[in-house]
Symmetry: C2
């Protein structure tokens, strides 16, 4: 049996009881380590489970799937994913390979940012399409996520923005030289994401485009959701561009139309400097 | 401390280790029992935790919140919610009351249908706004969810349809007589939901409206997600109208534009009679 086990968000104790029981049954367990991270590392999980884990990077999952699935028809193999196992496309691929090899699989679900973000005070059923922000390079500065955010806002909906993670990336130079030297991991911060959005807004304003959001749009920055030191900051986009929410992972929510109950909840988690802007929402249209 | 603890989907062992530890610390624990249900009842949870639970119906949560929060500043009180604690608006209200009473709260997240539905093979970031279907009555037959589904489909997005739950409902007669007699609980099935959608489609077709979906649109019915006997059936809306997916809870997904990997995943879970329709998708536009 192949067990795809969600680890949830936070630390080792966020696994479900069912998930932990499955881990203990497995003869080998992989830890997927490139689409998300917990606030604790591999060693902390190993100590918690009392067993060694095999780190599964992108290469192993995408090219070495046969290795992961080896003997999984006669023994139990675990595949641990931060959040829920179906947060990333790449795991569908692993399931398909298992199915085609006649290996049974079982999914043990857990919280992911896609539902846990509800704790910021915004109702999950008021969210539109989720978008991803990638690190811009000199030559690649995609803006399609901005249009999706504006489309959601036009429909009154909030947008969850998932922020880029780069682990085990090679520089172009090292890649061309065939050197297996990896850059330090990078995790996009709320501040970096807000800065990208502001750059897009300013460029489009310069071109006379009608804007679907501005620097004053109320947003919510969340960091390390589910961990003891989770941080939720409600503020304008401009304010978030200069905030420091600490270590990874970060996510950003751009609000759409706000219901009074949502405003009340946002206020609970708002930093003092953002309260003023929620007051503004209160006295105007519930949609900055 | 007020602990809002997600139970996940399925049975008692779907609670997280952190959640179970919190339950054991609490001097009293409420079980929210009107927005969702597990495949096991209160008694099974009580046996699992080794303690008694207090059933929290809508009346208690909405009108007796003070009772739930009583002494929570000096002792630990647990509030168990099927899925994730922030799936339902009503729990935001409980949090707000706690905050205003100066009671600290902590959320222990878990899987909810909003993210676990990814196991049907459709990518979570290809979902648009979530909709709710309520049981129609003689005089109240809302159709707004249909328009939202069509709007999502136009944008190429899938739609998760949450299906109505009626627990502890009074008949109008008993309510008027002030009799505390409650109707048996009702859970909308995939078949009932598909039937409502077909009625809307047929009515609008009769009025010459251009249709955003038809009886042949590929949908996915899911039942008891996360439980050992979970059922996932990919089929046309028409086929789902006559299917029996067994006991609650059910949810329905209406597909939007399908990515080839999504088609492959849907095929894994497709009943034989639906395979043919996925072949049709394959050879046409990836959007029925």
């Amino acid at each position: 049996m192949l067990y795809l086990i969600g680890l949830g968000l936070g630390d080792a104790a966020d696994i479900t009881v069912k998930g932990l029981q499955a881990v203990k049954r497995c003869s080998r367990v992989y830890l997927e380590a490139y689409t998300s991270v917990l606030t604790v590392g591999k060693e902390a999980l190993e100590e918690y489970y009392g067993m060694e884990l095999i780190l599964a990077d992108r290469d192993l999952v995408e090219q070495g799937a046969d290795q992961i699935l080896k003997d999984a028809d006669v023994t139990d193999v675990g595949f641990l994913v931060v959040g829920d196992p179906f947060g990333a496309t790449t795991h569908s691929d692993l399931v398909l390979r298992a199915v085609h090899a006649g290996i049974p699989y079982k999914v043990i679900h857990n919280a992911s940012i896609m539902n846990a973000v509800g704790c910021c005070g915004l109702q999950l059923y008021n969210f539109g399409e989720t978008v991803s922000l990638v690190f811009w390079t000199e030559t690649w500065r995609p803006e399609s996520f901005y249009d999706k955010i504006c489309k959601n806002r036009t429909a009154g909906l909030h947008t969850l923005c998932l922020l880029d993670i780069k682990v085990k990336e090679q520089s172009i130079e090292n890649m061309m030289r065939g050197k297996k030297i990896f850059e330090p991991p990078r995790f996009m911060t709320v501040s970096q994401a807000a800065d990208q959005l502001i750059q897009i807004i300013q460029r489009r304003r310069g071109e006379g485009e009608e804007l679907g959001m501005t620097e004053d749009t109320v947003c919510v920055g969340v960091a390390r959701l589910g961990a003891d030191d989770q941080t939720i900051r409600t503020a304008t986009l401009r304010q978030l561009a200069s905030c420091d929410l600490g270590g990874p992972l970060h996510s950003l929510v751009v609000t759409g139309r706000l219901h009074p109950l949502e405003v009340d909840m946002l206020r609970v988690n708002a930093e003092p400097d953002a309260l003023q802007h929620l007051h503004m929402i209160d006295s105007s249209t519930y949609c900055s």
